[in-house]
Amino acid sequence: MAQPLECEARLISACKEGDRDAFRRLFDLYRDKVYTIALYHLNGDQTAAEDVVQNVFVKLFRTITQFRSDSEFSTWLYRSVANACMDEHRRRRRWLPWASVPEKAYHHELNGVDESVRAAIEKLSPKLRMPVLLKYFEEMSYEEIAQTLGCSMGTVASRLNRGHKMLAQHLSHLNEGVNVA
């Protein structure tokens, strides 16, 4: 979330004029975060996550003239990411039983705590997963998550709370020795 806002605003303004170099720089600002969220959301399916990144940025280029600077650009972008992930998830839920199980890209990149976190996040339902990803990979506030997902802050709080309780169960080995007085 913490991009240099003035720089980002200039990039967006240039993108609205069709400046391809500015769009490349905007892509570089967000590409890894969008990819990470898509990859975690889609259970490590690298191909599907890359498709989501492509679709999101192609659509972004085509629609960025409609972005109004009275709202957060990241909220606008991640709404598209969330929708693309949910759409892909729905598609996979219907068709994956017929397809081969995709290789998980991040298995090779993670170890230790990260691997435990990944495995725990994978056990969450998509509805609980996306708020968690936006909270930790985008450092969004509850209000920003609510705007991104088009729901109330109460819903965000409830989903995050349920998500954290499930994560705490799955990550209980990390809590060993954490006892309060």
Partner: protein, 373 residues
Amino acid sequence: MRGLTLRRHVDDLLTAYAHGELHGPDLERVEEHLKDCRECRQELANIRSVCQALGSAKTLRTKDELWSQINNQLAPKRQRPILRFALAAVAVVLVAGVWVSLKPNQTDPVQASNGPAFELLNVQGPVTVATKPVQQGSLVRQGESLCTGPAAKTRIAVGDVGEIELSQGSELQLVSCDSKQHRMRLTKGELSAMVVAPPRFLVIETPAGEAVDLGCAYTLKIDDQGNTILHVTSGWVSLEREGPDGLVPAGWSCVTRKEQGVGTPVCGKAPTPVRAAFKRFDLERDGPALSFCLKVARKEDALSLWHLLARTNGSDRELVWQRLAKLSPPPKEAPKQAVLSLDSKAMDAWRESIMWTNTGAADALPFNLGSLR
């Protein structure tokens, strides 16, 4: 006071507390409760461990070549939005046409000894083709019907551009197929289709109308009355019959009834009263039913209201215009009089505007559908 707070744990607020998102009375209540409740303190410690673990999770890197793939898909020059959409649509149609004509072997069905055919990729339970039992790898030829028995299902390849899964108790006939279009007829039961091909490549006829694929995944079901129930899971589907069509994006549903024609598409997440209102309008098509739709419609239902423009006349259409304009103001390319006379350009422009302001639907397809009809 302390006794009251102790009796009621605050575990439903602890994550928000750990995130620093609590304020005012809720914050005070939690802090007061934590002083005396060891159970909730332990719960908070667990949540903070999760926060710490997730906070340290790595952001992963994308491949560098992803940019070139995206760059290749971007239009060469920036155009005015409507012109850009139109050019994108034309480009898609041209590319799709070239693709189809240059790669006939990939989109064509299997060339069996006696004409084109589709292969059964999977068979579970009793499945027949032309009344004869079949197995995985069998072919369905033009004119033949594929039937699934109780507790049976099968999956067929649509060239190599998609698949159709036929549910139990269903019947699907292969009407015609060539390199430009595959046409099938679902006479009973349910199917799921996923097609990655040029728009209008796959057409499914049903007793109540036709489902025309515009690059999508969807389910199609025929109920006991012969009505067709469509639910789109990705992309867009056009429902067509005499009278107004229905353009249905991902996450939306539409019912085509034998008597009333193509119904009004409705968002799958719409509350029950909204869905009930549009269903009532589809069945009754009168003033009171319309008033109820206009009353309960939300911004998210703007696409449903847009469909009502072509399903109403005179002053009723003006009422729809007023409500829709309030929920989703028309772009300048959709002046009021043009919309009221159902000018196709104005209607398309407004629909696109609705789509772009409703991100969930906008994801379905980023260009002008009107040009693809």
